[in-house]
């Protein structure tokens, strides 16, 4: 076994080890950890809460809430922990670390997670000697600091907190809870100026003053005054003013602990400089993670980015994912600072002249909100006092989703019904999933029975497995019921649950190994080589997209609809929808359909929403004859595929038509008929912005506008979800419209998750990104997409030709020969 040594037993050091163990690192490495502090690992973030709780400082504070990894955890996982021991030197050439208790440990891989320490600005009288603070002066970093502060605060009247940042305000609030009058002294003009602009700082200041704090801003502390016995009696300011206090807490920022790295010859600037794999740029065997790290010039102090770092480190050091890379984090944080809700992400102020800036201020209620938008993308937001919009803003910030044109809607619900009933208020018996009839109490019961993931609950109850529109609500209810024990299902990102790869990884593996059939994929890529019924349809679709005519078809990998090219109905009969391109038919077609309907006693003939005619209640064994007699191509109303192009009457007859939408729709449907895709694709072409063909709510919708031009919308929907499509481009030529439609669909085919409709896909990728790739060809892949689409078109065969030569014996044999079908009487 190789030796792994971790220096630092704080939150990130221990988290990194947990991540390494989760990737089988316990078998690869013998793990040794060094920690300055004499305990297991505790949750530093909760120290402010501990302080504010006003716990009895003589009691053991290390309760289950605070303790993340008790001593026993280290033993259980075979980790040797040196708690309270400090490493003083690394001999990189001998691969050894030297500790201050005289121990020497050899390593193959070393992780530095040395964290940071409080920064003490130069002040007269701050230190009693070289190492000891004046009695009554405290930093606020460790459990020891916190306990000492609480002990000292007993019977004291007044405290000064130097530093009006996040930590300083937490300390101030905590000391207030111990009955002290607290003065916050901040050198800059605005409180929390790292996260907030000046206005926000002012609003926050008023809120804190209402809570009884005294706030001094723009004031530099130059000295600490002491009594004759050496204890603190007050502080002096640069302007000559003074303040009498009994204790002083210094929270003027933190500095990464880089001393060890520095003396050991590793590159350090503000932090230990690492590459995208979190390795020191000087030494491939030494990783560094957490607050002590400087990555691409950034040093992070919030827990989110540090968790991301720990995961990448673990992926790389264990070889689980040798290509794992950390690219830096976009900072978004939501906190309660001294009882005031604060959320901040990205920029705090506009930086460029054309940055859009929306600002709302209501100081009396302690509310201040801003959003900053650059090139249509949310690049910064601040919420103070009211953080009800933090979820949607975080989503817009992280995923760069399109923003409402009225920017103010980012902050306020204007003219819409009040927000939906919260999960907690929802009645137990309320039906949540209207497709599968699942109620709230059934979901909660499922959690009580032991399901620990949203996906697990959905699989067992079928909730959200119908139209999918209740998925978010289901997730909210399950999350609330789970409380702390929620586990993330790692399979959520997989293209199919039985293969641990997302779609791009899976496509790469399939191409690399030349896997041309579904059974070959199972044999090569699943853990046990076993087939998995629930994954077959998704894989069959993907393989067809990748290989086109080289795909090796296996009938058992097809859904029943794709085996018999018709849509199965509830009584076991099928519906047959012949292709009527662009919704334009003829007397001859209608006559043939009428004849077939009579000949085969079709119980219902129905005009569909896609401008076609549906023959419902066809028996399975009649399908080949029905197709032969219709002598029309398949309309593909049964597949996860390109379905239909709805059109209006366009320019030939309509008085308003601006373009020949009918012909364009016909051409698009002929060209892209029947193509497999992750979910169905419904299109429309309208001849003018009156939009009679409903182009704005289609997966791809085209609208003719004045000047002979065509607008192309993508990602629209009018089903379980209603969404207006986003304008991808406006083009001059109809040929461009046809090409761009195909290019978008090919990109969707290659990149969308299984069953992910375009109305989810487009916001996930983001409109600007799609425009850059598909319209501006930023990545130089437009030509390849067009070519791949052409190959799929060339490989197309009308499946209804199988009536001449059934693909398998019994392809159209009824599964229930003794039951009289159809069950539905003719209308």
């Amino acid at each position: 076994m190789r030796e792994l040594v971790v220096i630092g037993n704080g939150m990130v050091g221990a988290r990194a080890v947990e991540e390494i163990l989760a990737r089988g690192g316990g078998v690869m490495f013998r793990i040794t950890m060094f920690g300055d502090e004499p305990y297991g690992n505790y949750n530093r973030i909760l120290l402010s809460e501990l302080l504010a709780r006003g716990t009895d400082p003589d009691e053991d504070p290390l309760d289950a809430d605070l303790l993340l990894n008790p001593r026993q955890w280290y033993g259980d996982n075979g980790i040797t922990l040196h708690a309270g021991v400090r490493v003083v030197r690394i001999d990189r050439f001998a691969h050894r670390v030297y500790a201050d208790d005289g121990s020497i440990v050899r390593y193959d891989k070393l992780v530095l997670a040395t964290g940071s320490r409080p920064y003490f600005p130069p002040m007269e009288g701050l230190w009693a000697d070289d190492k000891t603070l004046t009695p009554g002066v405290f930093g606020f970093r460790t459990l020891h600091d916190t306990m000492a502060m609480m002990r000292y605060a007993r019977g004291k009247q007044r405290a000064a907190v130097i530093g009006g940042g996040l930590l300083g305000l937490e300390a101030a609030r905590g000391l207030q809870a111990h009955g002290l009058a607290v003065h916050v002294v901040h050198a800059a003009q605005g409180l929390m100026n790292q996260q907030l602009d000046a206005q926000a700082g002012l609003v926050l200041r008023r809120s804190l003053e209402r809570l009884g704090m005294s706030v001094h801003t723009g004031v530099r502390t130059t000295g600490v005054r002491c009594s004759r016995d050496g204890a603190v009696t007050g502080v002096n300011f640069a302007d000559g003013a003074t303040l009498d206090v009994d204790m002083v807490v210094v929270a003027a920022g933190i500095r990464p602990n880089i001393g060890l790295a520095m003396v050991s010859g590793l590159e350090t600037q503000r932090g230990i400089v690492v590459d995208d794999q979190l390795r020191s740029v000087d030494d491939d065997d030494i990783y560094a993670v957490g607050e002590c790290v400087q990555h691409r010039g950034e040093v992070y102090g919030l827990v989110g980015p540090l968790w991301e770092q720990a995961a990448v480190l673990a992926d790389h050091i264990t070889g689980t994912d040798p290509a794992a890379a950390y690219h830096g984090s976009r900072l978004a944080t939501k906190l309660k600072v001294a009882g005031v809700d604060v959320a901040a992400m990205g920029l705090k102020e506009p930086e460029r002249p054309d940055d859009e800036f929306v600002q709302f201020s209501e100081p009396c209620r302690g509310i201040y909100q801003t959003v900053i938008i650059r090139d249509g993308v949310l690049v910064g937001a601040t919420l103070l006092g009211d953080v009800s919009k933090v979820a949607s803003l975080t989503q817009a910030f992280d995923r760069r989703v399109p923003l409402p044109e009225e920017r103010i809607r980012l902050l306020f619900d204007i003219g819409v019904p009040p927000p939906e009933t919260g999960v907690a208020e929802l009645a137990d018996e309320a039906q949540v999933c209207n497709c599968n009839g699942v109620s709230k109490d059934q979901l909660v019961a499922c959690v009580r029975d032991g399901q620990r993931t949203v996906e697990g609950v959905m699989a067992v109850t079928r909730a959200g497995k119908g139209c999918g529109s209740c998925e978010d609500l289901v997730a909210d209810i399950v999350t609330a019921a789970l409380g702390e024990v929620l586990q993330e299902d790692p399979t959520a990102n997989y293209y199919v649950p039985c293969i641990p790869m997302d779609k791009p990884q899976l496509i790469a593996a399939i191409r690399k190994r030349g896997l041309r059939s579904v059974s070959a994929v199972f044999a090569a890529l699943t853990e046990d080589g076993a087939e998995h019924a629930g994954s077959k349809m998704a894989l069959a679709s993907l393989l067809k997209v990748i290989w086109n005519e080289q795909y090796i078809d296996e009938r058992d990998a097809r859904f029943i609809n794709d085996r018999v090219h018709a849509n199965i109905q509830r009584d076991g009969t099928f519906s047959v929808v012949p292709q009527v391109v662009g919704g334009v038919t003829s007397p001859a077609q209608l006559r043939r359909i009428a004849d077939v309907a009579e000949r085969y006693h079709i119980p219902m003939l129905k005009i569909t929403g896609g401008q076609r005619i549906d023959l419902l209640g066809v028996r399975k064994e009649d399908l080949p004859n029905v197709w032969a007699d219709l002598d029309m191509p398949s309309g593909y109303a049964y597949g996860k595929s390109f379905r239909t192009v709805k059109t209006c009457v366009g320019s030939d007859f309509c008085r308003f038509g601006l373009g020949d939408s009918t012909q364009l729709g016909i051409d698009i449907e002929r060209r892209y008929q029947g193509l497999e895709s992750p979910a169905k694709m419904k299109l429309a072409v309208s001849g003018c912005p009156r939009n009679c063909a409903e182009s704005y709510v289609k997966d791809v919708g085209i609208v003719a506008i004045e000047g002979g031009r065509w607008e192309i919308y993508v990602g629209g929907a009018a089903g379980a979800n209603v969404r207006k499509g986003d304008l991808l481009a406006t083009v001059q030529q109809r040929e461009q419209a046809i090409t761009l439609t195909g290019r978008f669909m090919q990109y969707y085919r290659e990149n969308a998750n299984w069953l992910e409709r375009s109305y989810d896909f487009v916001p996930r990728i983001g409109l600007p990104e799609l425009q850059a790739i598909l319209v501006k060809d930023r990545d130089g892949i437009a030509g390849r997409l067009d070519e791949a689409m052409q190959q799929s078109i060339d490989a197309y065969h009308d499946p209804w030709q199988e009536h001449r030569h059934p693909a398998t014996e019994g392809q159209f044999r009824d599964a229930l020969p003794l039951v009289e079908l159809p069950k539905v009487p003719a209308r």
């Binding site: 599968n436 699989a459 067992v460 109850t461 079928r462 497995k465 059974s519 076993a530 087939e531 998995h532 019924a533 629930g534 077959k536 349809m537 058992d556 859904f559 029943i560 609809n561 085996r563 199965i568 509830r570 009584d571 076991g572 599964a815 229930l816």
Partner: protein, 76 residues
């Protein structure tokens, strides 16, 4: 009746109890059959539903000298 890819044989009742779907038209692998209309899954070996619906009846089945034998009288 299902012929598995490893040439094993399985037999279950034809109709899915909750919604009346036709199991013969479902997806199978070596363990389970998935009913087409609503995606309920049943173990082929004992008919047990793994997605919270009532079970279907399963029947032992084997092949000998080109003859398929299926026992209908097995107690559940």
């Amino acid at each position: 009746m299902f012929r598995l890819r490893n040439s094993g044989l399985r037999a279950v009742a034809a109709i899915c109890p909750p919604r009346g779907g036709l199991l013969a038209d479902g997806f199978i692998d070596s363990q389970q059959v998935i009913c087409p209309p609503h995606n309920h899954a049943f173990r082929l070996i004992n008919g047990q539903c793994t997605t919270g619906a009532p079970s279907v009846r399963a029947y032992p089945m084997h092949a000998e000298d080109g003859e398929l034998t299926l026992r209908l009288d097995t107690p559940q």
